[in-house]
């Protein structure tokens, strides 16, 4: 659990003072990913770095796992928080293995335990330990370095992670792949994560909560669905974009629409189906795309065992605005 109470940061310089973070109040539950989203210079990095005291707080307080960070030993605090820096920040003078082992070494782990943990993390990140662990960072591609940066932050299994645009500067394919891996890993790890991004699609995909900032102020915090279906003000509306309804489609699956749609069940289903077929677990954006390209405007929905469940057509999406992931999870 991480809690911000009136958290404020004012940068003082000789001739002026800049309020980079202004009176922020919210909390993040254990095991949740909270994405900080906003335009460049809005204070995301500043707020993130206030948590491990890389930047001292000016006013207010921040609590991590129930303890005020200013009352904790600064070195202990930092070692208990995984930190993935914008641009990875690997130590160029150390091998990949040594990079990953930095915090465990400081915590006094024995050799065997470190070795095991290192291999485990590299495999988790999809990098073969035998091939990579003795290399230096410059011998890895940008995407591989970024993965090592994440592995290094995870090494001592900290309950809290701070990640500053860990997937920035990657090509879309690798980025998408790493995001999926990250979600898969997080499912088991259940860490409390603060994640900085300036990409709305990434925020929607990864965040349990999304916090949107503008010039140091918290504009809105909520689930991706809340942000997309109920933007609180003009700034948020502009920031998420006019296509927010389309973006919401990615939050829901075909099955979600099926559950609430009586119309859907009534669709007649021939035994002989020659048109397009789509899985019930596909997201609605892909489903809509299929529908738009289907000649007769209909696609057949099948379950995991390829059993036909019904026919979906564009008019089923009329229900879409009333469907929220929150309600669905109750129905399920």
């Amino acid at each position: 659990m991480i809690e911000f109470q009136n958290a404020t940061k004012v940068y003082e310089s000789v001739d002026k003072s800049v309020t980079a973070v202004n009176n922020i109040n919210f909390h993040v539950e254990p095991g949740e990913i909270c994405v900080f989203l906003g335009p460049s210079g809005c204070g995301k990095t500043t707020l993130l770095r206030m948590v491990n005291r890389l930047i001292p707080i000016t006013r207010g307080s921040i609590e991590v796992e129930g303890k005020n960070i200013n009352s904790m030993d600064i070195i202990k605090l930092r070692r208990s928080i995984g930190y993935v820096i914008q641009h990875n920040g690997l130590f160029p003078n150390m091998t990949i293995e040594d990079n990953i082992n930095v915090v465990p070494k400081m915590l006094g782990w024995d050799q065997n335990r470190m070795k095991k943990r290192c291999s485990e993390l590299m495999e988790m990140m999809g990098l073969d330990p035998g091939q990579f662990q003795k290399r230096y960072p410059f011998e890895l591609s940008g995407g591989q370095q970024q993965r090592i940066g994440i592995a290094r932050a995870l090494a001592a299994d900290p309950p809290v992670m701070l990640m500053d645009e860990p997937f920035g500067a990657l090509d879309p394919i690798i980025r998408d792949h790493l995001q999926n891996e990250f979600l898969r890993i997080q499912k088991e790890m259940k860490k409390t994560i603060l994640f900085v991004s300036h990409d709305i699609d990434e925020a929607i995909k990864l965040g349990d909560k999304v916090a949107i900032f503008d010039t140091g102020e918290l504009m809105q915090i909520g689930t991706p669905d809340e942000i997309l279906s109920n933007p609180k003000n003009d700034f948020v509306r502009d920031f998420v974009g006019d296509d927010r309804a389309l973006k919401r489609l990615t939050l829901l699956k075909v099955r979600d629409l099926m559950v609430l749609s009586d119309g859907f069940r009534k669709h007649r289903l021939n035994n002989e189906w020659h048109g397009q077929v789509i899985s019930v677990n596909e997201n609605l954006k892909t489903a809509l795309s299929h529908l738009l390209s289907a000649p007769n405007g209909e696609v057949c929905v099948v379950d995991d065992h390829n059993k036909k469940l019904g026919v979906l057509c564009v008019s089923d999406f009329n229900l879409f605005t009333e469907v929220h992931p929150k309600d669905i999870s109750i129905v399920r």
Binding site: R78, I85, G89, F91, P92, P137, E139, L162
Partner: protein
Amino acid sequence: MEILEFVQTNWLEILQMTLEHIELVGLAVGIAIITGVPFGIYISQRESLANLVLAVAGIIMTIPSIALFGIMIPIFSLINQGIGYLPAIVALILYSQLPIIRNTYIAIKNVDPNVRDAAIGMGMTTFQRLIKVELPLAFPVIMAGVRMAIVLTIGIGAIAAYIGAGGLGGYIARGISTSYAAMIQVGAISVSTLAISIDVLLGKFQKRFSSRESIKS
């Protein structure tokens, strides 16, 4: 041919003076490293102090060596050491400080801020950060400073013979006062040869280390 004759008859003395010279330079630069590197690290953490220190060190560098030795004599006379080894060593230490302090300072300052940030953010203490990250990354540049200091001191060390420090400069000083050309030439050639060969040697050594340490950063 006078030179060859001189070398033939005096080779043992030449060797001995060369060793003396190396000892003088080694001691001076050794002390300069022990004091200069920590000092360079220290000022790299204090920007305001750094400018002052680098300026003062720069001024010392511009004092002609013979004048600096001259200044040393009255100061060291106070403790009855006006002429000889001690004032020479002190002057040489002062000279070799500048390249060492400056290069240490620059090297530490130039460590990628992201890397430094990562080190702090992961919970390294200042000492751990210096030992594990900043100094290894700064090493090649510090080495370049040391190399510069050594070559510089070999040259200036020859002049130190005038205040009785010994070493190859002795030949030059004695040769000039007795108008013995071969002796001057042998002294000068020996000093140059020593400087060049040590520079080459250090260059090789430096390359071996930096190919492992710095190219990647």
